[in-house]
Amino acid sequence: MVSINDVTCRNHVGQVSGGVHATLELMPVKPTGTEDETRVLPGVNMLTMLFIRGKCTIERIPDLFDVFAKVLTDINFDDSRSILQNALKSNLSSKKSSVASSGHSFANQRIRGRYSVEGKSFSKSTLLARVYHISSTLHISRNHTEFIDEKLYGVSSLESYANILEAVSSDWSKFVIRLKNLRAAILNGSRKGMLLNLTGDRKVLDAIMEQAEEFLANGLPVDLGNPAPPPPNFAEVEHPWIASARDDMLKSNPVRDEGIVVSTQVAYVGEGGRLYDVNEPVKGSVMVVSHYLTTGK
């Protein structure tokens, strides 16, 4: 048995690399033909990707690609119930304490998540705390996926993650199948939707490209039969999540007055609304006003 507290232990992934991490990236993209960057975008164009990021020394590049492949194809979900339970519990408790200490940020996110599924939006929210501290912010969002962010990370996510924890605890075998299906769908995708982003010295880049050919041509994604068609150019077409997300937004986070009961010493009060409509130009002076309202100077 290997004890993780043992000082002689070293992270296996860390032995061949400077760390490997998976992240979820939702990135609004500028629609094709949009020249004027100062206008509010329609908020239907975005890229959604699973990223595996890693770094290593030049001689470890083949090992790093092996780790990438293992992370994507070989992670053992079946025996990882307690890992997910602990992560969900820890996430829930830290989110609850964040809501108590930074309720204004959650109120702001919730309000922003009422007007736009994703994309550039402008909303003003005023926050009044019971300590008679009054502050005001003008939120300018450029790279947020508004409602989707609220759904995945905002105050609404407290309930969904509690439900997921319940599902994990009550029927793991069923939950694991859903996770495996997600992974299979992503891996069975098309290379046309894949992206390899490299940074380094010239000799590093050359060394990566030498190793990358085998990985890109024969490694991932794997052919599981009946692969998904290549993704369209999302700068030209609406992302497939947008329509469902819009329905979900209108249903679960409509524009109306609401109160959310949380256990805090202060009351966080937010007020907000849309300042600019889609395609309206926004001047640089808005940044000055925003800064003034946020900092008071």
Binding site: V2, I4, T8, C9, R10, H12, V13, H21, A22, T23, L24, L47, L50, F51, I52, R53, G54, K55, K70, V71, D74, I75, N76, F77, S80, I83, A87, K151, L152, S157, S160, Y161, R178, L179, L182, A185, I186, S190, R191, G193, M194, L196, N197, L198, T199, G200, D201, K203, V204, I208, M209, L216, A217, P221, F234, H239, P240, W241, S244, D248
Partner: protein, 118 residues
């Protein structure tokens, strides 16, 4: 500590406080390095970017940035997930958690992420 020594410490403290409260002379202030607006380049740093849309005819888009990295390779692999049904996106953070924390088919999470140096 003698009375004289005690008094010397007190005096030193008083003098230090006085020194800290006194404004510097303009000559001294003039020796402080300072930037003016014209010292700041209005053009942001542009990192080189090279895009190869169909690397090795595999269909994969390879984006590279040549920078000084002291021999360190930074590699990000991105996979499209737009085919995931909207109803399932709430599960994506759980998937990411397991990719980052669980073990592999032949190594426990401890072995995969922590193995002894042999």
């Amino acid at each position: 500590m003698s009375d004289e020594e005690y008094q010397a410490v007190l005096d030193e403290g008083v003098n230090l406080k006085k020194l800290q409260d006194t404004d510097e002379t303009p000559e001294v202030i003039a020796t402080m390095p300072a930037l003016s607006i014209s010292d700041i380049d209005p053009v942001p740093i542009e990192y080189p970017i090279h895009v190869e849309r169909n690397a090795f005819k595999s269909g994969v888009k390879v984006i590279s940035h040549e920078v000084t990295s002291s021999g360190i390779a930074y590699i990000d692999l991105g996979l499209d997930i737009s085919m995931i049904a909207y109803e399932d996106i709430i599960l994506l953070p759980s998937l990411i958690t397991l990719l980052n924390e669980a073990g592999t088919s032949d190594m426990s999470d401890a072995e995969w992420r922590y193995v002894p140096i042999t």
